[in-house]
């Protein structure tokens, strides 16, 4: 496997994200039922459905521009809480990669840092608040660490996926501090956060796809 990621690869990874979310639509709705309003699967799927169109219609020549277009699409026509959050994350990730036609291992870390910080800045969220950030931020940390340890791309991605999974699982025992579930106090404990789950499905499909030869 090459250590460089090209535009086409990013495109097919994004399409895999859409498919993975679609596959988990009802599961995400169900997670959003006990501590939210049961729409998370619908909302992410509707927004990412449009992502698929952007990917196929985009005339972007570089990865940064493509991710910005995706971010704009999600921000402007996504809606729900997840729209501004994922939209900002993609937008900021694109900005961090301005002009890049392919991504080095380092670029990948930069991208994911911007993605995580995008969620943080839009959601004014911290680690442990029981949100999607609890999936995204650990996956960034691990990705960065693996990079600094000189691990090959595949191992970096694999480690990030695992961290995302753990991050998602970690939300189960947390009390929510942000978003709709933050009103439930102790009653929010014992349930995986739907946004943490959709974030995991994004990481799983995106990084998983990038890992393939």
């Amino acid at each position: 496997m090459t250590e460089v990621i090209v535009l086409e690869k990013v495109k097919s990874a994004l399409n895999r994200v859409v498919e993975n979310l679609e596959k988990n639509r009802q599961y995400l709705n169900d997670l959003d039922s006990p501590i939210g309003d049961s729409d998370h699967g619908e909302s992410v799927c509707n927004a990412f459905h449009k992502v698929k169109e952007v990917v196929s219609d985009s005339s972007a020549q570089d990865i940064g521009t493509l991710l910005q277009e995706i971010g704009r699409s999600i921000i402007f026509s996504g809606g729900a809480a997840m729209g501004p959050l994922y939209g900002t994350a993609f937008m900021d990730a694109g900005t961090a990669l301005a002009g890049k036609k392919d991504l080095s291992r380092e670029d990948l870390v930069k991208m994911w840092e911007a993605f995580a910080k995008g969620i943080q800045r839009r959601g004014k969220v911290e680690l442990g608040d029981k949100t999607m950030y609890d999936t995204i931020y650990p996956s960034f940390q691990v990705l960065k660490q693996a990079f600094e340890e000189g691990k090959p791309l595949k191992e970096m991605l694999q480690a990030a996926i695992e961290a995302a999974h753990q991050g998602m699982e970690s939300t189960k025992d947390l009390v929510s501090k942000r978003g709709r579930s933050s009103r439930l106090g102790e009653r929010s404990r014992g349930h995986i956060d739907p946004g943490a789950a959709s974030s995991y499905f994004i990481v799983e499909a995106f990084f998983g796809s990038l890992m393939e030869d």
């Binding site: 169900d30 039922s33 501590i35 309003d37 049961s38 619908e42 026509s77 729900a80 839009r122 009103r183």
Partner: protein, 332 residues
Amino acid sequence: MKKFINRPENLIEEMLAGFVIANANKVRRLETERVLVRKDAPVQGKVGVVTGGGSGHKPAFIGYIGKGLVDAVAVGDIFAAPPVQRAYEAIKASHGGRGVLLCFGNYSGDVMNFGMAQELAQSEGIEVESVIVNDDVASSPRDRMDNRRGVAGEVILWKVAGAMAEEGADLQKMKEVGERAVFNTRSMGVAHTPCILPTSGKPSFEIGPDEMEIGVGHHGEPGIERTKMMSADQVTELLTLKVIEDLPFASGDEVTVLINGLGSTSLLEMYICVRKVAEILSDHNIKIYRTYIGEFFTSLEMGGFSVTLTKMDDELKKYIDAPCDGVHFVQH
């Protein structure tokens, strides 16, 4: 799922098509976005009043479009805040030269989407302010009021802001009085039956055959406590006392009472309950200024209701009493 729908993915579009046909005398739809506006929007020389949110709360939000009420509504999917573009188009479509007041509920989705739309419109030179409704006393303790959900109290804000705009008030004054109306408004609800989400065919929450959820949100969010069903008087007392002690409403106050059905609770039951509300208020020497009772802000066909009290002052009285001609809210 026993619902009169066609394909779930066409739900909102078909509903809006019906809405525009049925109410063509009062509303129209923007061509480019899923935004409904007063037929004569933008009304020149008047501050625009904009609201919006997820669908499934009818008559909210679009039923409040009309003279003396709301100018434009950004329509979201079922229980999903409308996206930025739509909120932005609603702002533009209602701007008649004197700015726009955004009035919406305190949900992170709405706050982020309307917030970004506001920034966008401001960057184009439109004066925009927001009043965010957080009347649900069950949704956070008093010292975390800024984290509370907005529920039926939104109706009070639309009424007040709409009347002020119609009268020619300026944006800053509307924001000030609107925020006072919100601060003076406290609500709490109860539900015993979930709605069925038309997209998935699943109930919005699970509940036993003899249980109810105290303090429920109007998307079926859990409230404070799961209890056994109680009598009308017991439930009403529980809700009303929590609401009273929150502001707190005090002896000598005058209040507007709003009893809101969440979807399938009959008016008959709500009238039984409002009788008890009145009794409790009278015991507290709180005077009822006006009563609204009916379905103002539903959660599809959820079974339950909420009690809202707004402490009145002379200014609020004037705007609550003003006539309005909304699609589903008409007052002489």
